[in-house]
Symmetry: C2
Subunit: 385 residues, 2 copies
Amino acid sequence: MREVAVIGVGMNKWGELWEKSHRTIWTEAALKAIDEAKVDRVDAMVVGCMSGGLFVGQEHLGALLAEQLGMGPIPGTRVESACASGGLAFRQAYLAVASGMHDIVLATGVEKMTDVDGGAATFALSTAADQEYEGFHGVTFPGLYAMMARVHMQRYGTTREQLAQVAVKNHAHGSLNPNAQFPMKVTAQQVMSSAMVADPMRLLDCSPVTDGAAAAVLVPLEWARKRSSGPFIRVAASAHATDTIALHDREDMAFLGSTAKAAEQAYKQAHIGPSDLSFCEAHDCFTISEVMVIEALGIAERGQGGKLTASGYTALDGKIPVNPSGGLKSKGHPVGATGVAQVFEVVEQLRGACGARQVKNARWALTQNMGGTGASTVIHLFERV
Amino acid sequence: MREVAVIGVGMNKWGELWEKSHRTIWTEAALKAIDEAKVDRVDAMVVGCMSGGLFVGQEHLGALLAEQLGMGPIPGTRVESACASGGLAFRQAYLAVASGMHDIVLATGVEKMTDVDGGAATFALSTAADQEYEGFHGVTFPGLYAMMARVHMQRYGTTREQLAQVAVKNHAHGSLNPNAQFPMKVTAQQVMSSAMVADPMRLLDCSPVTDGAAAAVLVPLEWARKRSSGPFIRVAASAHATDTIALHDREDMAFLGSTAKAAEQAYKQAHIGPSDLSFCEAHDCFTISEVMVIEALGIAERGQGGKLTASGYTALDGKIPVNPSGGLKSKGHPVGATGVAQVFEVVEQLRGACGARQVKNARWALTQNMGGTGASTVIHLFERV
């Protein structure tokens, strides 16, 4: 397979974008990436979107958005893996270029979540869980992650304060990101006294409901080398794994098996280990999620994710910064877009274009995007070359 | 890229399967294909499903169904392109094997459409059209195809009787297919006097609402050759193209541009032309659809699809049989499954295993699966080698 590089990325300011439609939000991000890549064509497009049907009453997004781009009749493919839809779209685009099927592929993600009311949005999100055995019986996503948090706290002694530190750190990072939905700093005390959602998950432990999109242009690395002198952002690994969709079927509710499996494959493909990472963008849909993700990625020892976070190890000035973008927590979480927005941050960081939130001397980066309570994970590794 | 072969297929008896759940229907078809392929593992799975969200309140199907198979943590990818979701799933599986990323890939499609009432099903299907410019204003799919039919009739002189002949032919074929939902023969008179849905489309001009699934196992052709003496079913071409999603944006409402574009690419890849086809499985969601599809595929001259059908050219004993399976019209149309079920028929036909509906001396076959009013088309060519 061919080596692949990302030569352009785009996203917009995320938030409650009531004055813009689903397709408009997507098109803004897509055109930014194409402009930045300085390409005059795209051979294929992939879009990750979790539930166009339930959020905006629109499926068939591959065709709709290829037309919106003014680039029909190119193949437009929509992929879905709940909140990992964006990461999976990037992976499909990577595969299309790596295989030689297409030369210039646009990977995108989009979700417009605020056109429906809170109850409908909660239902739409619950379709990422096992509806027949979880959702239809009333459990919501904060409820599922709350159970995971309780097990983690009970088994490993993870504290309420440690969970809060994930939010404190990510909002501090997000305060430096002009695209973030909630760029305000928060204190541990504010997190711990915010409204209860599902004990122990409080409002400031949860990522928000967001409208937004992100896009990236992928080409063969050799093709990029012919056009400019670099540095280039090389896709060093692509991995995708699954776990049981229902939480009660897991061997261990306090461990993210699909993330561990995908990480193992990705490190092997790139011949590196977690200690080589300059930083990573992780799927912090809840504060407990990031704690468990850094354990599954091998950044923290099993059970030590909370303690490591509280130590500052994963802060912007720590050993391995996690979520310099602000993460889902502060930047926002338009579910289908998140995985591609992680790539946006990685590319900007590896270019050294992140200003106040720049990770120093960044060379290796990892994106970890997961669906549901971790039933699917997509991981990519990137290297500045 | 590597050459790819299909070594196992599975589907179930389609219909209103109220006693079975979405995942059960899928699993039946998937396990049949795996059993037939005689493989003891699958490296990845792709599922085509149009709207798990609106039909059964379940997204995240890649993870759910990989687990259902008992084969997690394999990558499970869901793709969507409205009624072309199954064809697109097959294409993604093909790409995964052809590229060398995976060796044994399961391509599947599923839709459970009868758990919601007629109004909700009509809404779910309308999400394949341009909701903001078509669906929200009240037009339904029969309405959109009725407009296409009117233009075709007005411009080319296509008659009501010719349209009816598509249904007569496909129900005659379907009467020989044990998996068909409506295996009864119909007469042109019955079609033309059935209940009006959207003038000139009557009940028997429309494909039904169906629950069903289909699956196929893809491997490298060389790998298949090492296991048995053949004959083998080789995937000779894979093409995917788009058109405007809204009908009013088309250059020509009476021509399927995405099908013509994808067909052109597919014939080029396989170095054959339409006259080389032994038969094809075409997307006859309405009688007018098949008339327009055979024109876009180059089987009929432009405007002559109705006349050619009435002549018997596309019947089982004609020059190029179209839809020997009975097509969407008689076999049923669980939207996400249809594209993979077309592959099921092709493989069975090329093996000579179709009994009373067998196409004589079949060597080359084409599957054409489209979404919406033709905003997306996926075409595959197959050869018995």
